[in-house]
């Protein structure tokens, strides 16, 4: 159902996208063709007009010369001669007497239109012979000759119209070709673009349908789409990892908290069934409260880990004097170590300051110290009974080392002990939640550092490496 809707939606989107892209192409191409043709029309007609005007100017000069040499009669003869030659070029002549009555020429009457700034008159042509195709307008120059005669020499605009006609035809063909090409090009381009999007959409739908392992295929061309696909895939990998992590944590919580909850329930159940007297009942309730407290502690530890892993405490990072912090931890744990008969060896070094969350760092170091003391055997037979806490530097990073001579952690288990609730078989009988090292690792990551576990032969050497500079 949901898939169906998505698919219909996709089709509409695809259609409109394709259409719009093509339309944009079309408009752009057509506009450029129009501009191109407009410019050529303007230039071509301009050139033709200038050429005609130059011819007319030359003609006028020639006729004026003839007139001055041969007089009116000579001029009329010349004009008649020109017209007899059957000039088809559209030349216009008219010689009129002082009252503007035509004497010679191929115009029916004198045009009285107002000449423009350059002395040119534009006038309509009344055509006596409709079979001869002529332009509807003429352009001419007018002269007043000595003796009161008027001379008009001009040209019809047929040439310009012809040019305009052919350019318009070219324009129509050009536009048709452009529209065709841009429709096809736009369609092809948008189709190939949308095919890329389709790959991504296809994968997204498969993932939404529940197949988290699907990835966007890459064309291998290394273009922007491949980069986008690679980024999406990296994001999906990250999400898959996080989801798997959450699942693992949820499973562990469900599994590991069921046991103490079951114990709590059984205890209360027994207290109810055994019909105990007041004291035994109180005893059972007291123990149930202890169980509940233990569960709450576990939840608090989980919350602390979750908080550190969320990265939220980074907002409140402040300079933390690690030297003072180590001294505080020593203050807190020295009596505990001594109580157990362990030597507490401290090397506070020259101190170091990093930006961080003091409370979480304190808790991390305290957890390491707590483990070291808890897993150290009391030196009953003069064995090596000591634990140590040292602050040093490693390049730009601060290094807090906690070591003991306890049983240590086998090499193949060192990655696993930082998982939530993971406990070594050997340590199942000792008190603890299996969350201590998970928190230390989370705090290290929060500070851009890491927790390294190594063999202290014998024992465990835990190193908390915290870079001074924060990203």
């Amino acid at each position: 159902m949901a898939l169906g809707i998505a698919s219909v939606h996709r089709h509409r989107l695809l259609h409109s996208r394709k259409f719009r892209l093509t339309l944009i192409y079309l408009c752009l191409f057509s506009a450029s063709v129009l501009v191109l043709f407009g410019a050529s029309y303007w230039m071509a007609t301009g050139a033709v007009s200038r050429q005609i005007e130059a011819t007319i100017d030359a003609e006028i000069r020639g006729l004026a010369e003839q007139y001055s040499q041969r007089g009116t009669v000579g001029l009329i003869e010349i004009l008649n001669g020109r017209m007899r030659a059957g000039d088809p070029s559209g030349a216009l002549y008219l010689l009129a007497d002082p009252a503007f009555r035509p004497l010679a020429g191929n115009l029916d009457g004198w045009p009285f239109e107002q000449p423009d700034a350059d002395g040119w008159v534009t006038f309509p042509l009344s055509d006596p012979d409709p079979t001869v195709k002529r332009a509807q307008y003429g352009r001419a120059r007018v002269f007043s000759l000595s003796g009161g005669l008027h001379l008009l020499v001009g040209h019809d605009v047929a040439e310009r119209v012809r040019i305009a006609d052919s350019i318009a035809r070219l324009l129509a063909v050009g536009l048709a070709v452009t529209v065709g090409v841009s429709l096809l090009g736009g369609f092809l381009m948008s189709r190939s673009l949308l095919r890329e999007f389709d790959r991504i959409n296809q994968t997204s739908r498969e993932i939404m349908a529940g197949d988290m392992s699907r990835r966007v295929p890459q064309s291998g061309r290394g273009d922007e789409f491949d980069q986008m696909a690679a980024n999406l895939n990296a994001m999906l990998d990250q999400i898959e990892r996080l989801v798997a992590g959450i699942k693992q944590v949820t499973d562990s919580i469900a599994h590991d908290l069921r046991t103490p909850l079951g114990r709590l329930r059984n205890r209360l159940d027994r207290a109810l069934v055994e019909d105990a007297d007041g004291a035994a009942c109180r005893e059972a309730i007291g123990r149930a409260i202890d169980d509940a407290d233990h569960l709450l502690k576990t939840f608090n530890a989980l919350l602390s880990i979750g908080q550190a892993e969320s990265g939220a405490p980074r907002r409140n990072f402040e300079p933390v004097d690690l030297g003072a912090l180590v001294t505080d931890v020593v203050d807190l744990y020295e009596p505990v170590a001594e109580e157990k008969g362990l030597f507490f060896i401290v090397d506070a070094g020259s101190g170091a300051t990093i930006k961080g969350d003091r409370a979480l760092l304190f808790q991390a170091v305290a957890n390491l110290m707590d483990n070291a003391i808890k897993f150290s055997a009391a030196p009953a037979d003069g064995a090596n009974g000591s634990v140590g806490l040292a602050l040093g530097t490693e390049g730009e990073a601060a290094r807090i080392t906690v070591w003991d001579h306890g049983p240590g952690i086998p090499e193949d288990q060192r990655d696993r002990v930082i998982e939530r609730f993971y406990r070594l078989e050997a340590s199942r009988s000792t008190p603890g939640s299996g969350l201590g090292l998970s928190l230390v690792a989370a705090v290290a990551r929060l500070h851009g550092g890491r927790l390294e576990l190594a063999d202290n032969s014998p024992g465990l050497r835990a190193e908390l490496i915290l870079p001074a500079a924060q990203r």
Partner: protein, 248 residues
């Protein structure tokens, strides 16, 4: 009586001055009726007068109108939240000590609460004994906060200025942290002090420690101040914490 009085073996009640507390009034501002009832019932059994307000504006109204010796305020309240209630209370000139209750336990929330006018902060869920110990601590705070004096419990003396400690005139050598711990206990003499309270005030440490580290420190301190030929001053209150008090 609450859990504290169930402590047998003590020559006198672990808290001094029941008569002093019997007319002390406490306002509980908490929207969760079950939680409010739990707190109110426990405090009444311990001898306090308790009023409950179910939301922020009611609580603020009541706190301004009537003089209370202490207010217990939930951070998360419908309408006006706990922090705003306390800020309003403080800007109205009310200096009633405030104990915040909150389901939010991280350091920033705590700091916000204390900067916003709270005097102490307790994260839910909590043991009632923890709440009671803190309530009593807050009600006695003015006595404890006089600086530059000599604190006394029976023949035990702690000089805040010279940092010297003596029992029956005999000097006792304490490490700096032990001095701080004893000072805290003496400031709260006669009251039960929980392990969490000591961790918070002496070590500035706001989380659960995996083992009972505090007990080791207390046994050392006890060893130094309560030697065999003196009457015992430092008492363990089972399941709750410790209490430093003069013998009756």
């Amino acid at each position: 009586m609450g859990i504290i009085s169930a402590n047998p073996g003590a020559g006198q009640p672990p808290r001094q001055g029941m008569d002093l507390e019997s007319d002390m009034r406490i306002l509980v501002i908490e929207d969760d009726a079950e939680m409010a009832g739990y707190i109110a019932k426990g405090l009444r059994q311990a001898g306090f007068f308790v009023d409950v307000a179910e939301d922020g504006s009611d609580g603020l109204f009541q706190a301004v109108r009537e003089p209370y010796d202490l207010a217990i305020v939930d951070r998360m309240l419908p309408g006006l939240d706990g922090l705003s209630v306390v800020k309003a209370l403080r800007s109205a000139g009310q200096q009633t000590p405030v104990l915040f209750l909150s389901a939010m336990g991280d350091v920033k929330d705590r700091v916000d609460g204390l900067r916003g006018g709270g005097d102490d902060y307790l994260v839910k869920p909590f043991a009632f004994s923890e709440l009671l110990a803190r309530v009593e601590g807050l009600l006695r705070r003015p006595v404890a906060s006089r600086p530059g004096t000599v604190l006394r419990v029976a023949d035990l003396e702690l000089d805040l200025r010279s940092h010297r400690v003596a029992r029956k005139g005999e000097p006792i050598d304490l490490k700096p942290r032990e001095f701080k711990l004893l000072q805290y206990l003496m400031e709260h003499q006669g009251q039960v002090v929980t392990r969490t309270m000591m961790l918070e005030h002496v070590w500035d440490c706001h989380f659960d420690l995996q083992t009972n580290v505090i007990d080791v420190h207390m046994s050392r301190l006890r060893h130094k101040i309560d030697s065999d030929d003196h009457p015992q001053l430092l008492h363990t209150v089972r399941g709750i914490g410790y209490c430093l008090r003069a013998p009756s």
